[in-house]
């Protein structure tokens, strides 16, 4: 069958297979990320205002799935603290971090620009506008899904706006991308400011919480809403992975290779909007995870999306879980806003990336 489509090529005789890349590196990366994830999760559940030994944390989880090798906490209060407060928070951190990592990878692939990120280009702020609307006006027409649904609506509009404004010939230049982000963030923040002004005392406090980003008050109900969305987004992203690789060649070249570029972009944008709004609805604006994580992964295993997407999922989850561990325990009796922490690290990183990209592209002053 193959003979009909692939005429034999000039180089007859013995073809030397090209040297293979380092699959060991990929395996090592996934191992390190997974082990790191498990360790940070256990540590995060164990450490807090009162400590619970790590062995009891593990024991408690194993007990629930019917394995009786380690003792769970004897104190029912500790057991309740684990299951009602700490575990949902850890799981939410993993989900939100993972999904932000994946969204960064998706947006960078979609725009052909390493600086694209939901926070930087304003998608997170856009989604926050919808979330704030539902808070200020107390809308509940979709029940528990009202806030995420509104966040999705405004998040999608913002992502589409960024896409239309920033790209030309399918690529978004660095300068255009950043300036679009400035503009979009300005408008979204103006809308949020107006809602702060319009809202009552309680709404104001809640809005400030969105803007800072925090995982405080995580509940299993949140996890239950966000988990299926994350699963769907990751699954769809994996299906798109190979085609996202092709976008790196440029729109025209991708089309020559059979990619329906417009549909691919549209699906990617919808996935990003769904995922970011789900994350923003329950954790507020947490920036830079999607910038830092895919970038580090690319340096280790290269830019191929079939590795980049799952690795960014794990990497983002690890980063946010670790950041949350720090946010809860850096100061006694103070739960630092996690968005502040990620921005503290992400801001300088972003600047470094900007300088590097500028140097490579020959300096746009």
């Amino acid at each position: 069958m193959t003979a009909t489509v692939s005429p034999p090529v000039t180089s007859g005789g013995d073809l030397v297979p090209p040297p293979r890349r380092r699959p060991a590196r990929v395996a090592a990366l996934f191992t390190v990320l997974t082990v790191g994830l498990v360790m940070v999760s256990i540590a995060s559940a164990a450490v807090g205002q009162f400590g619970i030994p790590a062995s009891q944390v593990v024991g408690s989880v194993l007990n629930r799935i019917g394995i009786d090798v380690l003792a769970a906490p004897a104190d029912p209060f500790a057991e309740a603290a684990l299951w009602d407060v700490r575990f949902p928070r850890v799981v939410l951190a993993l989900l939100v971090g993972g999904v932000l990592g994946v969204c960064g990878a998706l947006m960078q692939g979609c725009f052909g620009n390493p600086l694209a990120e939901p926070g930087v280009v304003g998608v997170s702020s856009g989604a926050a506008v919808g979330a704030c609307l539902s808070i200020v006006f107390g809308w509940t027409f979709l029940g528990a899904f009202t806030t995420p649904a509104l966040a999705f609506a405004t998040g999608l509009v913002t992502t589409l706006a960024v896409y239309v404004l920033a790209r030309s010939k399918g690529r978004a230049g660095v300068v255009t991308m950043i300036l679009t982000g400035v503009a979009v963030n300005a408008v979204a923040n103006a809308a949020i400011a107006f809602l702060v002004f319009a809202g009552d005392q309680a709404a104001r406090e809640q809005i400030v919480f969105w803007q800072l980003g925090s995982l405080a008050g995580s509940r299993w109900a949140y996890v239950a809403t966000i988990a299926p969305l994350v699963a769907v987004c990751v699954a769809v992203s994996m299906l798109l992975a190979r085609r996202l690789d092709l976008l790196a060649l440029g729109d025209r070249q991708a089309r020559h290779l059979g990619v329906d570029v417009e549909s691919l972009r549209l699906v990617t944008i919808v996935v990003v909007a769904v995922a970011v709004s789900a994350a923003v609805s329950y954790s507020g604006i947490i920036g830079f995870v999607g910038l830092v994580v895919p970038h580090l992964i690319r340096m280790i295993t290269g830019p191929g999306h079939r590795v980049l997407i799952p690795a960014s999922l794990l990497g983002g989850a690890l980063l946010l879980a670790a950041a949350d561990l720090l946010a809860r325990n850096a100061f006694h009796y103070a739960d630092l806003p996690i968005g502040m922490l990620t921005a503290l690290v992400g801001g300088p990183f972003f600047f470094w990336l900007l300088l590097r990209t500028r140097r490579r592209e020959g300096g746009w002053t």
């Binding site: 692939s6 000039t10 890349r21 299906l239 690789d245 060649l249 020559h256 990619v259 690319r298």
Partner: protein
């Protein structure tokens, strides 16, 4: 939308010698009130190497885009593999024609092997997928890039990048090849190699359209030369017929002389100095 589902595998039949693989018929392209192509008709046949030459801005790249199905003409028709270009789906077209554009930037630091493997994307999920490894290895070997396989694209020289892009196009294994100035960044040896590859593909049944600036290269390797001037086809035919001093002097707005190579007898075109 063919994004989430695999296309049913309907693979193209290999063309017979002399089949018309791409045809532009009285094509007019007007962009922003400017006529870039003015009634151009041209055919690419299976088994031939057709060189497209002409001064800068003559419309060569525009014609190539039209023949590739990228650009819909304002008037006239384009057919590819015997069917109107717009009637092909993106992926079916990708299995029949490969295009090397003039510029091929890559947004992320993919390595050479990954870029060349991208050329196999149209065959994903079809029986031809079994041929991926061989096609990629052959394309790398033919462009002398096997040793560069793990190098990342941004670290390559201009010529090496151009050869990588060409290898990607070769790996696609399409029976219609449209190459826009594939020799522009290459040294003498690799220029000859590209034309030898074009010839080899043609003798295996492919149709190759190649935009060139070096008329000597065109005369030595092409079966036919098409000369484009100011959006119109000035001449098309075998090298001996096309390489006439008065024709080329007019087209290039510069006196040229044509001499015959002492050994091969092929025409050599030189600017009058």
């Amino acid at each position: 939308m063919r994004l989430l589902s695999r296309a049913p595998a309907r693979l193209p039949e290999p063309p017979a010698e002399g089949d018309v693989l791409a045809e532009a018929d009285a094509v007019v392209v007007t962009i922003g009130g400017k006529r870039l192509l003015d009634g151009v008709s041209l055919r690419v046949h299976a088994g031939e190497v057709l060189a497209l030459v002409g001064p800068n801005g003559a419309g060569k790249s525009t014609l190539l885009s039209v023949l590739a199905g990228d650009l819909a003409p304002s008037a006239g028709t384009v057919s590819i593999h015997g069917r109107p270009a717009p009637s092909w789906s993106t992926v079916d077209l990708a299995r029949r024609r490969a295009v090397l554009p003039q510029h091929n930037p890559v947004s992320f630091p993919f390595d050479v092997l990954a870029v060349v493997e991208m050329g196999r994307a149209p065959w994903e999920g079809t029986p031809a997928e079994d041929d991926d490894e061989r096609a990629v290895a052959a394309a790398l070997a033919d462009t002398e890039l096997t040793a560069f396989a793990t190098r990342t694209y941004p670290t390559l020289s201009g010529g090496e990048q151009a050869r990588t892009a060409l290898a990607r196009v070769l790996a696609q294994s399409a029976s219609l090849l449209l190459l826009d100035e594939p020799t522009a960044a290459l040294d003498l040896r690799h220029q000859e190699q590209v034309l030898a590859l074009a010839r080899a593909r043609a003798s295996e049944g492919a149709g190759v359209l190649v935009v060139l600036h070096d008329l000597g290269l065109a005369a030595a390797h092409a079966d036919r030369i098409a000369v484009l001037a100011a959006g119109g086809l000035a001449e098309a035919g075998p090298p001996e017929d096309v390489c006439r001093a008065e024709l080329l002097s007019g087209v290039y707005q510069h006196p040229v002389e044509v001499i015959s190579h002492p050994r091969t007898g092929k025409p050599i075109v030189l600017p009058y100095r």
